[in-house]
């Protein structure tokens, strides 16, 4: 499904990804764990098409389609969804209108039916229940004045609406209290399906107790240095990241 090969990327002249290799099969949940500055957010932004990141070499192919050749909106239409670590506040743009524009753009590109505001509202209010979001929030400006937890839940709601083939969740657990974390994790679990793949990026093992991954990868120094099962996350939780890159060298 997703094939990342030897991906190298930089921002502002600094190389952050140093040859990432990763294969995510359909229906799999891949955790990517890594310390601060290991390239986690860069990887998610590069996959989603943020124009500030420069891809120097390598490829990322989603079901045969060269993602890196597409602008951000076309990646979204191809089924890529980035759950932002820091969702952007967009004053004056109403959440429901923004989301309908995205939903309809994606549906139009697939030749599917576009929804009028009434039809869309019905769908949106149904999905809002997944993350326990008040209907009144849907009429507010995108993320404007939202709490940290509300922003994260809003990202999950957007994911639920857009039904991506590949969701890249960039630290969906950061800054959340226990209740919000559970809501976000429940939301992710409800959206798991054999057709959809998830890359779950996190610093901590905590969320992986709630969203149990199929594969755990460790990203350090801009490369995947270890890959394993759930036990790898537990190992990092007890022993930390230090020395993880040496394990690779020892294996290699």
């Amino acid at each position: 499904m997703l094939e990342i090969r030897n991906l190298t990327a930089s921002i502002g002249g600094n190389r952050v990804l140093n040859g990432v290799n990763l294969t995510v099969e359909r229906g799999e949940v891949h955790a990517i764990m890594g310390p601060n500055g290991s390239g986690k957010s860069t990887l998610s932004n590069v996959l989603a098409g943020h124009p500030q990141y420069i891809v120097e070499s390598g490829e990322a192919v989603l079901d045969g389609e060269d993602l890196l050749a597409l602008p951000a909106e076309e990646r979204a239409r191809a089924g890529v969804f980035l759950c932002f670590q820091h969702p952007v506040e967009v004053p004056g743009v109403r959440l429901d209108q923004f989301l309908r524009a995205g939903y309809n753009a994606i549906h139009k590109s697939k030749g599917l039916e576009e929804l009028d505001p009434l039809q869309f509202d019905r769908l949106l209010q149904g999905k809002a229940g997944i993350v326990n979001m008040e209907p009144s929030m849907l009429k507010r400006s995108v993320n404007d004045g939202f709490s940290g937890g509300e922003k994260k839940r809003n990202e999950i709601l957007q994911m639920a609406m857009l039904e991506p083939r590949l969701s890249i969740l960039d630290e969906p657990d950061s800054g959340l209290d226990v209740d919000s974390l559970r809501l976000v994790a429940d939301g992710i679990n409800q959206l798991r399906s054999p057709d959809r793949s998830v890359i779950l990026i996190t610093h901590y093992q905590r969320i992986l107790n709630l969203v149990v991954p199929d594969v755990v990868n460790v990203l350090m120094g801009g490369r995947i240095v270890r890959t394993g099962g759930v036990e790898l996350a537990e190992e990092i939780e007890t022993e930390g990241y230090e020395g993880q890159d040496e394990v690779l060298q020892a294996q290699g």
Binding site: A48, G49, H50, P51, Q52, P71, A72, E73, R75, A76, R77, F81, L82, F84, P87, V88, E89, V90, P91, G92, V93, Q97, F98, L99, A101, G102, Y103, A105, I106, S109, S141, V142, Q158, L162
Partner: protein, 446 residues
């Protein structure tokens, strides 16, 4: 005045002598008003962007002053192209509407379906000849010595709109004054005038809109006067949607009585040069004004808003929120001044001007001025200028929205801080359509 500038003004004086001076249908009072105004115009002439003339420093009206307009006193057109009128109509058959073409009231295009019987809406020409007492306020509030343009309007005063709302009267539906120029293939000068008098505890909403039935490099030189008695509420929206070749100069004088409340919105989309001065005097204790503005320019347009708020009485409140969206090589000017007189203790005054620059060549001059002579006041101002937020753009695109649509959404979002206060749905929808049309037209030219 120098010899060179004097020749620019002489054409107007000659046209005045030919067509206005001898007009038979006016009262001695109006005749005197016109005569003193033309004398004033001859004396001060058009303003120049010379050093020391702070009010006109950023706006050069030489192209207007030296323009060779075809009709300085345009006649009522024989036929009005009503098909082009539709884009200026709002509020269907519910709103009250008066239409003026080339400065003349057109009764056949006027409809007043929802007016309480005690309210007077009439044309200025009619009021001047039939009910001179109704227009005794004319010119009393808008002093014409500040700029040659106001004197020019007063000298050529022939017609306009008069609204008089008696005390304790609520006008539920808005009253829309539409001023259009029509001269096909010719350029003209029109001098619209609006006079609104709100009685004690009365309430109404008016819209003045300015535009053209056919595009031409015409000049509209408008003057408006609003007087609010104790406890009156008035919403006054001004929409300027001329073509990008036209010239528009306007001024409005507002006087607020005790506990009255005035809300205005100034929406400028058109004009090669557009300049508007809004002066509000908070004369009655407890009076309030909220002044919104949105200007959107493109190409080589130049739009200048001067907002002059004067707190005269204690416990008065004012707020100015102006926003600009500038594209192409256009230029925006915002000058907002707040004066708090010594007696105006407990004044609360705020002013913000925010601008969004959509091109590298667009430019904004924003200049706040606070003159505070009282000691117990709260005054604040802020100005900002920036480009579209790249991270917001990426956020929208990451949800499948193409770049051009995402940019349009962000501009609408920026404008919404002002538009959210436009409670009249047909006006709001109209403004949103104008924003979209302006953005689409600049995308085509990009």
């Amino acid at each position: 005045m120098t010899q060179k500038t004097a020749t620019r003004e002489r054409r107007y004086v000659e046209a005045w002598n030919d067509a206005i001076a001898s007009a038979p249908d006016v009262s001695a009072e109006l005749r005197a008003l016109r005569e003193s105004a033309i004398a004033k115009f001859e004396e001060v002439g058009f303003p120049t962007a010379r050093r020391g003339n702070e009010a006109w420093k950023y706006t050069d009206v030489a192209p207007i002053a030296s323009a060779d307009f075809d009709d300085l006193v345009p006649p009522l057109p024989v036929r009005v192209a009503t098909e082009a009128l539709d884009q200026h109509i709002m509020g269907g058959s519910v709103w009250n509407r008066m239409v003026f073409v080339d400065g003349h009231w057109v009764p056949s295009l006027t409809s007043l379906p929802s007016l309480p019987p005690q309210v007077t809406v009439t044309s200025l020409a009619r009021a001047m000849s039939l009910h001179p007492h109704l227009v005794r306020d004319l010119g009393h509030y808008q002093s014409y010595d500040e700029s040659g343009f106001t004197a020019l309007n007063t000298a050529f005063l022939r017609d306009g709109a008069v609204l008089i709302v008696p005390h304790d009267t609520v006008v539920e539906e808005p009253i829309h004054f539409i001023y259009l120029s029509s001269s096909e293939g010719r350029s003209s000068v029109t001098q619209p005038r609006t006079l609104v008098s709100m009685g004690r505890n009365s309430k109404a909403a008016v819209i003045e809109s300015y535009g053209a039935l056919t595009d031409s490099a015409s000049l509209t030189n408008a003057v408006s006067e609003f007087v609010l008695d104790e406890g009156a509420h008035l919403d006054a929206w001004r929409l300027q949607q001329h073509s990008a070749e036209a010239y528009h100069v306007g001024s409005a004088q507002v006087r607020l009585g005790r506990n009255s409340r005035f809300t205005s919105g100034a929406f400028d989309f058109g004009g090669a040069i557009a300049r508007h001065t809004l002066s509000v005097a908070l004369e009655g204790e407890g009076s309030e004004c909220t002044l919104y503005g949105l200007y959107m320019t493109n190409g080589g347009q130049h739009v200048d808003n001067q907002v002059l708020v004067e707190h005269v009485a204690p416990h008065t409140t004012s707020e100015q929120i102006y926003k600009g969206v500038l594209n192409g090589k256009s230029r925006g000017v915002f000058h907002g001044s707040i004066t708090v007189q010594q007696a105006a203790q407990k004044t609360n005054a705020k002013q913000t001007d925010r601008n969004l620059l959509l091109s590298d060549e667009a430019e904004v001059d924003t200049k706040p001025a606070l003159w505070i002579y009282a000691d117990d006041v709260r005054c604040g101002h802020g100005a900002a200028c920036g480009k579209l937020d790249d991270s917001a753009l990426f956020y929208l695109q990451s949800r499948g929205i193409d770049e051009a649509s995402a940019k349009r959404m962000l501009v609408h979002g920026f404008a919404n801080e002002v538009l959210d206060h436009v409670g009249l749905t047909p006006l709001r929808v109209h403004l949103e359509q104008l924003i979209t049309a302006t953005l689409r037209s600049s995308e085509r030219h990009a």
